[in-house]
Amino acid sequence: MSSEVKDGLKDERTVEDSRPSREGGDRAQYGMCAFLALLGTAVIVDALGIERVTNGTDPVGPRAVPLLLGALLLLLAVLYAVDVARGGRGEPEAGEDVDLSQGSDWRTVLLLIAVFVANALLIERLGWVISGGLLFWGTAFALGNRHYIRNLLISATLSLTTFYAFAIGLGVNLPAGVLQGIL
C-alpha cells in the first residue's frame, strides 16, 4: 500500500539512490599530469630567463630553486601518470555538504565563476556595496535559491553593513565606486 518516498516528480534534482561510483581508472587525472608537466616546463623556461647572478655572498643565485622545482614538477608529472596508468586514483574529497554519488553539476560551477568574474570586473567601478551585493545575490541564485526579493534585501544589508563596519569602521580597503560621496 504505502509506496513511500522515491517519487520522481519530473524534478531531476530529486536525489534518491546513490549510484555506485565509477569503477576503473580515472582518466581525468591525466589532465592534472599534463597541467603539472606544463607548469614544470613554464617554471624552467622562466628560470632560464633569469639573469645569472652568483657571487661570493650568494653562490646559489636565484635560478637554482626554480630549476629544481621545475625538474621535480616534470618528474612528478611522470610518476603521477605512471600511478594513474596502474589504476591509482585519489579519493575525491568528501564532506558534510558534498554528495559524490552524482556527477558534477557544471552548470552551477560555471554560473558561480561568471558571478565571481563579474564582481572582479565591476568592483572598482561600481564599488563594493553594489558589486558585493550582486555577488551574494548571484551566488545564492547560482546555488539554486529562488527567493529573489528576500535575497536582494539580504544582499543589500550584508554589503552595506560590511562596508560601514570594515571600510569605514576598521579602515579596510574597500572601494566606494559610484556611490562615492553618498555612503
Binding site: 536525489v15 581525468a28 592534472m32 597541467f35 603539472l36 607548469l39 617554471v43 628560470a47 633569469i50 647572478v53 655572498t57 650568494d58 653562490p59 646559489v60 643565485g61 636565484p62 622545482l69 621535480l72 614538477l73 612528478l76 600511478d83 591509482g88 586514483r89 585519489g90 575525491p92 574529497e93 564532506g95 558534510e96 555538504d97 558534498v98 554528495d99 559524490l100 558534477s104 557544471w106 552551477t108 560551477v109 558561480l112 565563476i113 565571481f116 568574474v117 568592483i123 572598482e124 563594493w128 558585493g132 555577488l135 551574494f136 545575490w137 551566488t139 545564492a140 547560482a142 546555488l143 535559491n145 550584508l158 560590511t162 570594515f166 576598521l170 579602515g171 580597503n173 574597500l174 572601494p175
Partner: protein, 499 residues
C-alpha cells in the same frame, strides 16, 4: 618565574573590556563556523585575517585565539550530532559520540567533549608556557643548516604522514613551493612574475589560503550539492552525572598526555594521538563492551587529545616558525602579514604579543566552556541555514578579504585561479595542507638553504650543520622508509604470529 610574571602581564593586557569583547567575538565566531558544515578554523582565520588589518596585532591575535579553540569545539559538536566529522581529527570523536547521541546521551557526549576540551586546552596551554623558553633557547642555538633541515622535515611530514598517497602529497607541496617562488627574490631578480608589476611582491599568503580553502571549497560543494537533509539528533543542554565524571576525568588526562607531544612535534598532527587515545581507553575501560555502542571514554579521551594537540602545535609555530596543521599555518601567515616573523627571536622582540596571545588562549578556553554548555542547542540551529546562503556568504567574505589585502582587482582573478586549483585538488584527492605549508615555508627554506651554502662557499656539505641537522635528517629518512619497513618487516611478522 619570569615567565609567570610575563603571563600575568599578558592577562592584565587582555583584561581590558575591549579586548575581552574581542575574545568573546572570536570564541563565538569560531564556534559558529566550526559548527557550520564545510568551514573549518583554518578557513575562518584566513577569511577574517584581512578584516583585522585595521586592528592592532594584539587585538587581532586575541580574536584568533578565540577562533582557534572555538573552531575545534564547534567541529566536535557537529561530529557528535551528525556523525560527519568536519576534520580528520574529529573522526574518532564521531565514532562513539554519535552512538551516544543516538542512544539518547547527546547531552553527556557534548558535555564530556566540552569539559574535556577545556581541561586539555588549559593543560596544553600551561605546558606551552613552561616549554616555550626551553624550545626558544634550543632554537636560538640553531644555525641556518639546522633550520633548513627542520623545514625539509616539515615538508616531508605533511606530505607523507597525512595523505594516503605520497605522490599526491608531493604534488601538492610542489605546487605550493612554486607559488611561493613568485615575486622578486633576495638577489632582486623577478621570478615567475610574467612581467606583471603587481606580482613583484609575490602572491599574498592570505590570498592563497582564502583561494584554496574558501573558494575551492565553495566551488567543490557547488558541483556536488547534497539535496537530502541529514538526520540530526535533538540536543538538550549538555550535562553530566556523577558516574560520567568518574568515567571521564582519566581519559581527559590521558588524552592530553597523548595529544600535546604529537602536536608539538614537527611531524605530529592530531590524527595519531586521537586514535591512540581511543585504543587506550578501549583497552583500559571497565566497560569495553560499550565501545562501538557509545562509550563516554571514547569521546572524552580523543576529544582531549585533539585539543591538547592543537595547543601543542603552537610550540613549533611560535618558537621555530614551523606550522604543523592548517590552522597553525594560517596563523603563521597572520604573523607574517603583520610583519612579525615567528621563530626564536619572537619571544624577545614581541614578548608582550606572545604573552597576550597565550593569555587569551586561556581566557578563550574558559569563555568557550561558559558559553557553550548553555548554548549547544542554539548552535545546532545553525545547521538549518540554507546552503546557498552559507556558500554565498563564504564567497562574499573571501572576495572582500582578498581584495582588501592589496586593494587590486587582479588579486580577485588570482583568487579565482587558486579556487579552481583548490577545486581540482579536491576532485583528484590531492591534500591541500602541503600546498599551504609549501607557500609559507618555501621562501624561508630557500633563504636558509642559500645562507647555509653561502657559509660553505657553495659546497653541498654546508647543508649538514651539526648534530641537530644530523638528527633531523635521520628522522626524515625514518619517515621516508617507514612504509617500506611496515611492508617488509612488520606485516610479515604479524602474518607469522597470526599463523
Amino acid at each position: 618565574m619570569d615567565n609567570l610574571n610575563n603571563l600575568m602581564q599578558g592577562f592584565a593586557d587582555v583584561m581590558d573590556p575591549m579586548n575581552l569583547l574581542l575574545a568573546l567575538i572570536g570564541v563565538v565566531i569560531g564556534t559558529a563556523v566550526g559548527v557550520l558544515p564545510g568551514i573549518g578554523p583554518a578557513m575562518t582565520v584566513a577569511l577574517l585575517l584581512p578584516i583585522t588589518y585595521g586592528m592592532e596585532p594584539v587585538q587581532a591575535f586575541i580574536m584568533f585565539a578565540g577562533i582557534f579553540y572555538g573552531g575545534m569545539y564547534g567541529g566536535s559538536t557537529t561530529s557528535i550530532l551528525l556523525n560527519t566529522p568536519g576534520e580528520s581529527s574529529s573522526v574518532v570523536t564521531a565514532i562513539e559520540g554519535n552512538r551516544m547521541a543516538k542512544a539518547g546521551r547527546a547531552a553527556q557526549a557534548l558535555a564530556t567533549a566540552a569539559i574535556g576540551s577545556f581541561v586539555a586546552g588549559t593543560i596544553g596551554t600551561l605546558l606551552l608556557v613552561l616549554l616555550m623558553p626551553f624550545v626558544v633557547d634550543f632554537a636560538v642555538s640553531l644555525g641556518a643548516p639546522d633550520y633548513f633541515a627542520l623545514m625539509l622535515l616539515a615538508f616531508i611530514a605533511v606530505t607523507s604522514v597525512l595523505g594516503s598517497s605520497r605522490i599526491r602529497g608531493l604534488i601538492s607541496l610542489l605546487l605550493g613551493l612554486t607559488i611561493g617562488v613568485v615575486g622578486i627574490d633576495q638577489s632582486g631578480q623577478q621570478r615567475l612574475t610574467l612581467g606583471i608589476p603587481q606580482l613583484a611582491d609575490g602572491i599574498d599568503v592570505v590570498v592563497v589560503a582564502v583561494g584554496i580553502f574558501a573558494v575551492g571549497e565553495a566551488l567543490w560543494v557547488a558541483a556536488h550539492l547534497r539535496r537530502r537533509p541529514a538526520e540530526v539528533i535533538p540536543v538538550g543542554r549538555p550535562w553530566m552525572g556523577k558516574k560520567d565524571w568518574q568515567r571521564s576525568w582519566k581519559p581527559w588526562l590521558r588524552g592530553t598526555a597523548y595529544g600535546f607531544p604529537f602536536g608539538a612535534l614537527p611531524a605530529g598532527g592530531a590524527e595519531i594521538p586521537t586514535f591512540m587515545s581511543y585504543i587506550t581507553e578501549k583497552r583500559l575501560s571497565k566497560h569495553p563492551e560499550e565501545f562501538g555502542k557509545g562509550a563516554i571514554e571514547g569521546v572524552a579521551g580523543p576529544e582531549a587529545a585533539n585539543n591538547a594537540s592543537a595547543a601543542g602545535t603552537l610550540v613549533p609555530m611560535l618558537a621555530l616558525g614551523l606550522p604543523t596543521n592548517a590552522t597553525a599555518a594560517v596563523m603563521l601567515a597572520a604573523f607574517q602579514s603583520y610583519g612579525i616573523q615567528p621563530g626564536p627571536l619572537l619571544l624577545d622582540r614581541e614578548a608582550s604579543l606572545v604573552w597576550v596571545l597565550i593569555a587569551s588562549l586561556f581566557i578563550g578556553n574558559l569563555l568557550l566552556l561558559l558559553l557553550n554548555l548553555p548554548l549547544a542547542p542554539a548552535w545546532a540551529k545553525l545547521l538549518q541555514i540554507p546552503r546557498p546562503y552559507l556558500y554565498a556568504g563564504i564567497l562574499f567574505f573571501a572576495t572582500m578579504g582578498a581584495y582588501a589585502v592589496n586593494a587590486q582587482p587582479l588579486d580577485l582573478f588570482i583568487l579565482l585561479s587558486l579556487g579552481l586549483l583548490g577545486f581540482a585538488m579536491r576532485r583528484f584527492g590531492l591534500p591541500v595542507l602541503p600546498l599551504i605549508v609549501g607557500v609559507i615555508l618555501g621562501p624561508r627554506a630557500e633563504l636558509q638553504g642559500r645562507r647555509s651554502l653561502q657559509l660553505s662557499g657553495g659546497e653541498l656539505s654546508g647543508l649538514l650543520g651539526g648534530p641537530v641537522s644530523y638528527t633531523v635528517y635521520t628522522a626524515i629518512v625514518l619517515v621516508l622508509v617507514w612504509p617500506l619497513i611496515r611492508r617488509f618487516v612488520v606485516r610479515p611478522l604479524r602474518a607469522r604470529s597470526a599463523a
